[in-house]
Each structure stands twice: as structure tokens, then as C-alpha cells.
């Protein structure tokens, strides 16, 4: 069966160049970067080049990059490594659980927490951030791009508010990095999280930018690695992969690949809206990352559509997978105020660097016929057809 993968916000395939770059660092150049001998130096050199490459993607100093095990660890370190008992933190209702859950845990540990609402297009209002400030506010954490809708948040304005108040601003840029230019100076954040496997590096590697002078405490103790902010022998192959992927992402953005990606996504989105009635884009008409289209198909269950499409070879996603693998309605769509049935009827299409025009064509053929079959079995669709 021909398989098409349009779930790149979940994870991306490792690019061949990335895999090639990593390959020597498993068996051949296997050293521990902390060792003083040749093997250690070889590993150390690879890590530091990768650090420079990641720093170049984010527009910061190499010394401001901390390698982590991924986005979740980066978010936890940025939040739990900074906020202390008695402090107040501000975040939003549409953050990834990697931000929301550590924030909620801090509340249990005696911190204050404000979770800001979003508008109907999943945007945080900077004025809400300003109004939420308290004398003891220590941190604002608002994501750069939402994983479900792809909608970009007004992070620069929020960073200004944080700067005026003299507090830290963290942004989870896991879904933004590589898709749109991410410049920590331009944003004005104190810390920023990225994840390797969302930008065609392997799973299990990520990085946290921490602005020089920001007081962060480590979560993992046990060595002097990563400027004592993240103990543990470095994942050298992963770091090398992330470095290569960051370099490829930067080159792609410099070439304008993001505009090509947006054109492909728009063709998919408009094609679906034109071919299937009673659909709509969640988070339309506001700036979005170029690869994401979240579309509601009224009268059907997104869960069934995802399964039906998967059985025909198209991989997309709906909502959030709970621990068993069952799908729960996305907290993001619920927070946007989407009607319950629409939150259940929404599908996320997310493109990757490997996505081709032909795959978009095939998707545009497959989705309408599958939706039509599901709607034939939908009581609410039938009822409506009868009443018309």
C-alpha cells in the first residue's frame, strides 16, 4: 500500500543527510565527550559544532544552548528550573502538556499560576498577559506556534511585556523551529525550547536556549555536563543529528522553502474546502506555521476518519492520544471555544520536508471520498439531508 505521511507535527522522518552525519558516531567515533583522550576530543568536537549550528538557527551564542532529551525536558527545565515556591507564573490554556503539566505541578508545590484563555483562533491576547502580572510573577511561558492549529502567538509583544516587568519569558518553539525563522534576539525571550524530531533529526534529542545571565537550576544532577545545567553523558549521535538538521532547516529557510511549504499546504487546505462541504479551518485568517492545516469535517468523528484514512494509507491525526492510544478531544480546540462536535470532528494535516505535490493530489482524492462514506453513516448528516 502506498503510504502518505501528513503527521509531521507529531514527528518527522530523519533526513538522509542527517542520518549520514550521525552514522559515524555510533560505533566508529564512540567517545565520551568528557574523556580527555582522542576519542573524547572527537566527541567533544562534534558536540560543539552541533551547538554552533543550533545557535545559528536560533540566532544566539553557542554557549547559550543546552542539549536535552527533547522538547518535554527543555520545557520542564525552563519552567521548573526557574520558578520557586511563592513565585507566580503565567501560561496559556493551549500550551503543550510539556508546559501545562509542569506548571500545574508547580501549583501543587506552592506556586501561583495563571492560565490565560485564547480567542477563537487560538491566540493569546498580550493585554491578558499584562493584566495577569503580579508583584511575584517570575515567568511567562507562551508557546511560539501551536501544535494543533499551527497558529503563531504574539511572542514578541509578550516578550516586551516581560521585559518591562523585569521577568523571564520562555517560549516553547518546538512547532515553530525550522518552519518559520526563529530569532531569540528578535523575539526577546529568556529561554526557548526546540525538539529534534520535529525538524527531521531523531527522537530523543532537543535543545533549550537559555539567555546568558538567566538563573536556571538543573533538574538532573550528577555531573558538570552542559554547563552543569543538564548532567548525564551527552547523546552524541543525537546531538550531531540535531546539529545537521538545524543547519538544513536554516538553509531551507534562507532559500524560502517555507513559502513553498505554505503554498503546498494552502493547496491542500483549499482543495479540501472546495471538494468537501461543511468544513472549515480551525485557526484561519491569522499567521500560522506553513505546514499545518487543522480542518473540521462536520457530522463525523475525527477518530473514525483517522482510522479509515490510515487503513487507506494516509497518516493524519485528531486530538490527543491518551495513555491507551485512544483519542481524546484536543484541549487546544476546546480552549478555542470550538463546539464539542467540531472538536471531535477535527483533523490535523501537517506537512514535512519530504511531502510531495503528488502526495497532496492523492490526499485530495482520498479525503473527500472517505468523508463522504463516514457521513453516509452519520445520523446528524442524514437528518439534515432529509430536512433540506
Amino acid at each position: 500500500m502506498r503510504r502518505i505521511y501528513l503527521d509531521n507535527n507529531a514527528t518527522t522522518p530523519v533526513l538522509p543527510e542527517v542520518l549520514e552525519a550521525m552514522r559515524p558516531y555510533f560505533a566508529q567515533r564512540f567517545g565520551n565527550a568528557s574523556s580527555i583522550h582522542h576519542h573524547g576530543q572527537e566527541a567533544r568536537g562534534a558536540i560543539e559544532s552541533a551547538r554552533e549550528s543550533v545557535a545559528a538557527l536560533l540566532g544566539c551564542q553557542a554557549s547559550e544552548i543546552i542539549f536535552t532529551s527533547g522538547g518535554t525536558e527543555g520545557d520542564n527545565l525552563a519552567i521548573a528550573g526557574l520558578v520557586r515556591t511563592g513565585d507566580h507564573a503565567i501560561t496559556s490554556s493551549i500550551e503543550h502538556h510539556a508546559v501545562l503539566h509542569p506548571c500545574q505541578h508547580l501549583r501543587e508545590l506552592g506556586c501561583e499560576l495563571t492560565i490565560l484563555p485564547v480567542d477563537g483562533r487560538s491566540r493569546v491576547d498580550p493585554d491578558d498577559v499584562r493584566r495577569a502580572l503580579r508583584p511575584n510573577t517570575k515567568l511567562i511561558s507562551i508557546m511560539m506556534a501551536n501544535n494543533e492549529t499551527g497558529v503563531l502567538q504574539p511572542v514578541e509583544e509578550i516578550a516586551k511585556i516581560a521585559a518591562e516587568a523585569g521577568i523571564c519569558f520562555h517560549t516553547d518553539a518546538v512547532q515553530a523551529a525550522g518552519k518559520v525563522p526563529v530569532d531569540v534576539e528578535k523575539i526577546g525571550c529568556h529561554s526557548l525550547t526546540i525538539s529534534g524530531h520535529k525538524i527531521h533529526a531523531p527522537q530523543g534529542i532537543g535543545a533549550l536556549y537559555v539567555r546568558k545571565g538567566t538563573q536556571i537550576h538543573p533538574l538532573l544532577r550528577g555531573g558538570q555536563h552542559e554547563r552543569s545545567l543538564r548532567a548525564g553523558t551527552e547523546n552524541v549521535p543525537g546531538i550531531v543529528g540535531l546539529g545537521k538538521a538545524a543547519a538544513l532547516a536554516k538553509a531551507g529557510l534562507d532559500r524560502g522553502d517555507d513559502k513553498k511549504m505554505a503554498a503546498m499546504r494552502d493547496r491542500l487546505q483549499q482543495g479540501i474546502l472546495a471538494r468537501v462541504e461543511e468544513t472549515g479551518v480551525n485557526g484561519d485568517d491569522v499567521p500560522r506555521v506553513p505546514n499545518t492545516a487543522n480542518i473540521h469535517f462536520d457530522h463525523i468523528e475525527g477518530e473514525s476518519l483517522v482510522i479509515a484514512l490510515d487503513l487507506k494509507g494516509l497518516a493524519v491525526s485528531a486530538g490527543a492520544a491518551c495513555s491507551s492510544g485512544a483519542i481524546e478531544p484536543s484541549h487546544v480546540l476546546v480552549a478555542m471555544g470550538l463546539r464539542g462536535d467540531r472538536a471531535h470532528a477535527s483533523i490535523r494535516f501537517s506537512l514535512g520536508k519530504q511531502t510531495t505535490d503528488e502526495e497532496i493530489d492523492l490526499t485530495l482524492a482520498l479525503v473527500p471520498e472517505t468523508v463522504a462514506r463516514l457521513r453516509e453513516l452519520s445520523p446528524s448528516y442524514k437528518k439534515q439531508a432529509v430536512s433540506q
Binding site: 468523528e301 477518530e303 473514525s304 482510522i307 479509515a308 487503513l311 491507551s324 492510544g325 485512544a326 462514506r373
Partner: protein, 410 residues
């Protein structure tokens, strides 16, 4: 060599000594049966247990396109650690361990597998009614509600949506089309000790026409043997007995914890303990603590053993009496589903099962009009008095091994 024979043969790799002959015998049976089926897509309701796993492996070996589906019905962690509830999640249904087992089987036999979320509906159609039935003094059977409202309703819908016209389950029962009557019949399985038709009496003709019970002609030991042949790691997994969402089977604690979670207080159903003669002999803390036939925990001491004979929800009374008082010759069943197409215009001789572990007893059934609603009810009159006929349980009528239908005991 026909495809189905070949695929079955391929599944017989390296069987244990002695198991081979049996496997071949089973294999022949399967080949015969599989000829009746086309190679269509079949959804298998997988629980992670040995029965449904074996069904999936069998159908796969017969060459069907099989899709495994597990219904996520209840989040076991929801009530874990609440007052009186275990800290650790040990319940069987929808536990992560079971999903893990089902997924592992699916991977091993090479079929796509999905977990579908029906928690909201399960709570609305099964858990809520379960709690309310107990609070009204009845003893509910959630498995029947689940079969009617979830497994053979929602799951059939999901199956059709994803391109599978038929759903196979690991129930021990048989379903077949009867040309003479022009109806789909539900029949008891070959292994009567595992008979699950009691929980399936609510199935409609449409549901039966799209349902497969591949274990209907097999015994449990044969199923385990077959699971071994397919190399399924769950072959020796113990059977689940308890109500899936009630850990440890303690329904009273479950009701307390559920209502507390919902922010509702337990309604006050405390009242009097009375004898069959109407004499008040004590008080009780709430009718949901009792079930007909119960002997322990009545809170009164008398010379002879006392049993719960009847629970009156309206008067909050628990009627107690001697063991003889437990026996009665008749019952009324409401919300009756008739499967075999009998119109019951005249009384019919059948045997009737009044709880899961009850040997069907000879009886006559006839239609009557309900006094309060005028709707059709069935009057069951047994040849011999039956022990502890319990409102809220089902009465299922059998003509030989054919399920005539069933209803809820009033």
C-alpha cells in the same frame, strides 16, 4: 492448495507434542467454516484476553483482512485512590496492561490495531444506569447494557465507518441465519460452561446479521490450545470474572467513590428491615447495600438464618425472610427483545435463565399488558419455584439452544 488451508497450515508451526492432533482437528473445523466467509474486512473487538485475541488470530489465519479494535470505555485511574478505592489500578477492563496485550497480539499476527474512545457513552449508558439501579434497590447487569449500547452498537458503527461490515467478538455464542424463519438466530455455544448468550439477548436482527462469534463451536481449552498454536503470549492469561469497571468487585465502594467524584452525595435510602409478615425488626443504612438472596450483613440476629427476599425502592424497605421465602414460581420481564421471531400470541414452553450462573429452568412464557404502562411484558411461570429471582437481572428464554429472547426482571 486452497488459500485458507494453506494459511491455517502455516499457523501450525512448531506445535507442542500432543497438541498437534488436536490442532489438526480444529484446523479442519476452521477450514470448513471459513469457506462460508468471503475474504472481507472484519473488525475484531479485542480486549487483550485470550478469547478475542484467538478470534483475531483465527480470522487472520483464514486469510481475512482483520482490523483490531479496543474500546476505551472507562479510565481506571479516575477513581483510584479515592476513599475506599484501591490506590493501584487493578481493574481488568481498559487497563493499560490489557491494551498492551491486545496491541502486542495485533503486532504479532500482523493486523492494524486501534483504540477507540467511547468513555463518554459508556458512562452515560452503562455506569450511570448501574449506579441508579442499585440506588433503586435493583441488581443491575452492566455487561448486557454494554453489549447493547456499546459493543454491538457503537463498535458496529465504527467498523462500518472504517470499511468493515462485520464485527467478530470472543463471546461464546453462535449466530446463524435461519432460512425457514427468515431470521438471524442466536444460539447457545458448544461449551455451555462458557455460555454468554445471557448477556446478548438484546441484539437486534441487524446487529446479529453483522456479528461473528468464531468461538461458538469451541471449548475454552480448545481456544487456549489454539492460542498456543498461534504462539500468542496471552494463551494462559486468566479469565476475567468481575464487572470490568468495579475493581475487586466491591460495587458499594465504587458507588460511593463515583458519586463523590461527581460531587453528588449518596441519596438517603436508609429504612426499615421488615419480615415477610410486615414486622419491623431493625433498620438498614441504604437499600443499595442489599441484593435479593443475600444472607450476610443484614445487621440483625435471629434464631434461624435470614435472607433478603425483596427490596422496595419506594418504601426504602428491605424485606427479609427464611430461605423458603426466597423461592417463587413466576416473574415479569419488561423491555423484552424477541430474537427468534416468536410472536407469543399463545403461551410457549421454554427454559428460562434468570442470572448468569443459573441452569435454565423449564417454564411457560406469555405476553401480558403491563398494569401501569400498558406496554407489552412477558409473564414467566416456572414449573418449579426458583431461588432469588432478582429485579434488575435479565430473564432469557431458550427453546433448546435457540435464544427466543429476553427481558429485564421487574
Amino acid at each position: 492448495m486452497p488459500k485458507d488451508t494453506f494459511s491455517w497450515g502455516a499457523a501450525l508451526h512448531a506445535p507442542r507434542e500432543g497438541a498437534l492432533n488436536k490442532g489438526v482437528r480444529l484446523g479442519v473445523k476452521l477450514v470448513i467454516r471459513s469457506r462460508k466467509l468471503s475474504t472481507e474486512t472484519i473488525a475484531v473487538a479485542m480486549s487483550g484476553g485470550v478469547d478475542s485475541s484467538t478470534v483475531a488470530a483465527m480470522l487472520r489465519a483464514e486469510g481475512h483482512d482483520v482490523v483490531g479494535l479496543t474500546m476505551q470505555l472507562w479510565n481506571q485511574r479516575r477513581l483510584a485512590g479515592r476513599e475506599g478505592m484501591p490506590e493501584q489500578v487493578t481493574g481488568r477492563c481498559c487497563s493499560l496492561d490489557d491494551v498492551y496485550d491486545a496491541r502486542r497480539v495485533a503486532r504479532q499476527i500482523g493486523i492494524p490495531y486501534y483504540v477507540v474512545n467511547h468513555e463518554e457513552r459508556f458512562e452515560r449508558e452503562v455506569v450511570r444506569p448501574f449506579v441508579e439501579e442499585y440506588l433503586s434497590g435493583r441488581t443491575p447487569i452492566p455487561c448486557s447494557l454494554c453489549n447493547n449500547h456499546l459493543k454491538f452498537d457503537q463498535l458496529l458503527t465504527v467498523a462500518r465507518q472504517i470499511g468493515a461490515e462485520r464485527v467478530a467478538t470472543g463471546h461464546y455464542a453462535r449466530v446463524a441465519y435461519d432460512e425457514a424463519r427468515g431470521r438471524w438466530l442466536l444460539r447457545r455455544p458448544a461449551d455451555l460452561s462458557k455460555d454468554q448468550t445471557y448477556f446478548l439477548f438484546g441484539l437486534t436482527q441487524e446487529q446479529l446479521s453483522r456479528t461473528l462469534f468464531p468461538l461458538g463451536n469451541m471449548t475454552k481449552p480448545e481456544v487456549r490450545e489454539l492460542a498456543h498454536h498461534h504462539g500468542l503470549a496471552i494463551a494462559e492469561k486468566p479469565d476475567s470474572q468481575e464487572i470490568c469497571f468495579v475493581p475487586g468487585g466491591d460495587y458499594k465502594r465504587f458507588i460511593d467513590a463515583y458519586l463523590a467524584e461527581q460531587g453528588e452525595s449518596l441519596p438517603d435510602t436508609a429504612g426499615e428491615l421488615v419480615t415477610t409478615g410486615g414486622e419491623v425488626i431493625g433498620e438498614h443504612a441504604g437499600i443499595h447495600n442489599f441484593t435479593v438472596g443475600q444472607r450476610k450483613g443484614l445487621g440483625v440476629a435471629t434464631g434461624s438464618p435470614l435472607y433478603v427476599i425483596q427490596i422496595s425502592g419506594a418504601q426504602k424497605q428491605v424485606v427479609v425472610g427464611s430461605e423458603e421465602n426466597l423461592y417463587s414460581k413466576s416473574l415479569r420481564a419488561k423491555r423484552v427483545n424477541l430474537i427468534s421471531g416468536e410472536d407469543l400470541r399463545r403461551p410457549m414452553r421454554v427454559s428460562v435463565k434468570i442470572r448468569h450462573r443459573h441452569e435454565p429452568a423449564p417454564a411457560v412464557i406469555e405476553k401480558i399488558a403491563s398494569a401501569d404502562t400498558g406496554a407489552g411484558e412477558i409473564l414467566v411461570t416456572f414449573d418449579d419455584p426458583q431461588r432469588a429471582i432478582t429485579p434488575g437481572q435479565a430473564a432469557v428464554f431458550y427453546d433448546g439452544d435457540v435464544v427466543v429472547g429476553g427481558g429485564w426482571i421487574t
